[in-house]
Symmetry: C2
Subunit: 231 residues, 2 copies
């Protein structure tokens, strides 16, 4: 058994969040939720909506209910999700991949480092973002449709690791929100934070990030810090 | 002389930033700058644009130049400011006062606590936001037009305090960005941070905030913590 797992530790697998981590879409999602909430008669500060992006849609709506002191019926919740989807779609023309996102993924593939994408969104909503990254059809993608609970529950990352056939302690979760990092801790994976979703460095560290980078390009430039050796 | 200044310490004067502090406009300014930059051929992550909002327009453009590794001519800088103004105006219909903003200002007036507004923006750009707060024409407003340097230089807050006739050590600067709090330190005023601009609590504390609240409503609910006693 001695050292038999050393290659795993030398080249961990990477599990990526999508919105805010590979795609610069957090601000659009924030304003789309604000628009949906306003249409439901709820006024919340934009910054507090921002801090909920990345968590499961169900928990997000519960958080808004608590904050606004209201209780929605299931029909109202459904309507709100529809309003958000429409408001996001309206803004999606302005959404771009983050600097270095595609280069980072290509470099990992080039180095034979396994990686997957795990997003709290539904596949239909994630499709345009995935298309922007021009990924091979073989890339393992786990969405809200594949698991019972989204982030900060660990299910998405557990399913992504299972699809790669890698054990959790060999996985590095990369995300921009505290919800990714809390889910990483619950999944017993290491967490790496990116500032590209607009959370502060300290917020990500307090949620468990053992390293924080500016965006995918900055992570790519420092891969050797998180266990990926070049050729 | 004994205790002659005690009333000053009991009831400090308040100097308020505008965008992100009284008005929920930081996300609109962020996306307006991103649109202006993109039209100039510059792609920067939205989150890094966000973190510059609130600083002087000149410094902000310098920061973008550094980050993108470019150098603009003065004609290009002027064009970029024009593009930002137009892009912001397009979004300004969605801008709202922050929760509690007007109530907070009314309560201070009611308690005879002097207060003023000091914004890095120009008066013409700030006017719609000021109108939203339905302020009396007597409220002292200091804008970019009144001083040589905007935040994080202390000039705006120094001018606001002078207009109120209050010495800086008796002033509390209230702002949502690190630029407000750095300017407060340089002006030798106390700084109070609000999370309503989307900066993290730790970012504001590290920049000098001695107390941080969620938004104007939360500050109003805790005025006794920052030296304002009720009747």
């Amino acid at each position: 058994m001695k050292q038999s797992k050393s290659s795993h530790y030398g080249r961990p697998a990477f599990l990526f969040d999508l919105d805010g981590t590979l795609i610069d879409s957090v601000y659009e999602h924030t304003l789309a939720w604000r628009e949906a909430l306003e249409k439901m008669g709820i006024a919340l500060p934009t910054a507090s909506i921002h801090r909920r992006i990345g968590m499961s849609g169900g928990l997000l709506v519960h958080a808004f209910e608590r904050e606004a002191g209201v209780k929605f019926s299931s029909a109202q919740v459904e309507r709100m999700h529809g309003l958000h989807s429409a408001a996001y779609k309206k803004r999606s023309q302005q959404v771009r991949p983050l600097p270095g996102a595609r280069d980072l993924l290509l470099e990992l593939s080039h180095l034979h480092v396994p990686w997957a994408i795990a997003t709290s969104g539904k596949l239909k909503d994630a499709k345009p973002s995935l298309a922007m990254l021009k990924l091979s059809a073989k890339v393992p993608i786990i969405t809200r449709d594949d698991v019972e609970h989204a982030k900060p529950e660990p299910d998405l990352f557990l399913a992504a690791a299972a699809k790669l056939g890698v054990e959790m302690p060999h996985c590095v979760v990369v995300g921009d929100s505290v919800w990714d990092l809390l889910a990483a801790q619950r999944a017993h994976a290491l967490g790496v934070g990116l500032l590209s979703g607009g959370f502060g460095e300290n917020e990500l560290e307090r949620a468990g990030a053992y390293r924080v980078y500016r965006d995918p390009a900055d992570l790519l430039a420092h891969l050797d810090e998180v266990g990926v050796r070049g050729e």
